[in-house]
């Protein structure tokens, strides 16, 4: 057992975990903002809604569908020129961010749209009958009324983002994926891979726990 423990480079593991947390938290935050924006746009420009606009709806839906359909590992490769242009490098945790956000935001946008659709149309109509502006409707009705679903959606998205970071790690972004690949797979030490897996699982469980807590707390139905 002691041999096994020595096999793992603990300082590297901690650093890798920190990188994974870093990539996940930044990309979750950006995905939340961008996905919410896209989801709102999808919902509001749909037929019969307050910004009903077929052109915008089709364009946004097209964008969302395309980027949601590209497998993440391919998206990372596709975005290499873009990332290089943006950050000047392909290596490091920051270099993974554009791909992570562009990969996850469309996915989350659809979840936002579904969450907004769940809101009773009557409630929106009631606010209109009180003279609410579109700003009131978005910030005082749509977002608060769909908050539990928005939170559980971002939880699911965050967990896939943890998975995405591992994939991004393989092509040089660092993090636990990189750690498992480098020291576990290439170093031919399955135990190290196992340790990296456990670390990832812990990160996932923490995300899930936080997400569940806030979903429950905001749900007053």
């Amino acid at each position: 057992m002691a041999d096994f423990m020595e096999m793992v480079k603990w300082d590297k593991l901690i650093e890798a975990t920190r990188e994974t947390m870093y990539m996940t938290s930044i990309s979750v935050f950006a995905t939340f903002v961008l996905g919410l924006l896209l989801g709102l746009l999808l919902f509001l420009t749909d037929k019969g809604n307050i910004w009903a606009n077929r052109t915008v709806n089709v364009v946004v839906a097209g964008f969302v569908n395309i980027f949601r359909s590209i497998p993440f590992i391919i998206l990372v490769v596709l975005l290499i020129p873009f990332t290089k242009l943006l950050l000047g490098t392909m290596l490091g945790a920051n270099a993974a961010l554009p791909a992570l956000i562009i990969g996850a935001a469309p996915f989350y946008a659809r979840m936002v749209e579904i969450a907004l659709r769940e809101i009773d149309k009557g409630v929106i109509e009631a606010s209109q009958s009180m003279g609410a502006t579109h700003g009131h409707i978005i910030f005082k009705v749509l977002i608060p009324e769909s908050l539990p679903a928005l939170i559980s959606g971002i939880t699911v998205t965050a967990i896939s983002l943890v998975g995405f970071t591992a994939m991004a790690g393989v092509i040089g972004a660092g993090g636990l994926g990189n750690f498992a690949y480098l020291y576990g797979f290439q170093g031919n030490k399955p135990f190290v891979t196992l340790v990296a897996t456990i670390a990832i699982l812990i990160v996932v469980f923490i995300v899930q726990f936080i997400g569940d807590y806030f979903t429950k707390k905001t749900d007053k139905r």
């Binding site: 009631a126 009958s129 608060p144 007053k220």
Partner: protein, 341 residues
Amino acid sequence: MISIKNVQKIFPSKQGQLKAVDDVNLEVKEGEIFGVIGYSGAGKSTLIRMLNGLELPTNGTVTVAGRVISKIKGSELRKARQEISMIFQHFNLLWSRTVSENIAFPLEIAGVNSARRKKRVEELIKLVGLEGRENAYPAQLSGGQKQRVGIARALANNPKVLLCDEATSALDPQTTDSILDLLVDINKRLGLTIVLITHEMHVIRKICHKVAVMESGKVVELGPVLDVFKNPKQPITKRFVQQVTEPEETKETTDHLLERYPEGQVVQLTFVGEATEQPLITNLIRDFDVVVNILQGKISHTQNGSYGTLFIHLDGQSSEIQKAIDYIHSQQVGVEVISNG
């Protein structure tokens, strides 16, 4: 207060054009409780939604509290809507907000500052009788309580007109009555004009001053509630009036009695106002050679007087029965022979 002129609403549909509202003209006076009754699909919902601009008329004009609702847009319409509030069949409360926060919502929209908001919410909670439930969420309330929140919310910005879109249709009879009492109370206390749509004649009977009956987009009958009750002209109106004057079991009872007493006639008497106070039956028995058998009776109160129905069975010689019926006629009491024995 409200004037609807030559209003038409046409929805495009697959089978061509659907006339939801077809050339409707209505006037509602200030302080009046005006009821629109009709079955679902009659166009009453579309009509009431045109009063606050949730729906725009295809033709015609809608004027509420001096504003041409069918013409104005944007901020002017939003301003107008603060004076024309609405309550709904399914309450449409924000479940993410407490009772107090729900009532505060229209005040936030109107830009009322938080101190004044708090004070107004307290007043409204008292007005609708929800003391002690301020911090409850809608999910923790009964249907009747939810509608009270809806009413408080609708009154928050001191509107001139209150629109009720099937406001009691999702409630049980007892709760319906308590909500209707609250509406009458508000109407009297605040002088608020109320327009309500419903498919229940009970609601019209209990609180409305005037009623319009709608059928396939048209207003087929219009008048003070008591007049319409006394003398319904259209078949559809008769059916609605029967909802409240003639309980289900009446037909069974009369059928049964028609069987048991093959002779004589079953007659429905309708009394309005002072007519209810005459000793009609005593006179019948004393002055005519008939046997009177009381089958069923009911008195309904409306906002402008009482209205009663009485089913009796008359037996005797047919000429004598006819004389008795003529006598009843002469006493300003409505008579309808249900069927010959």
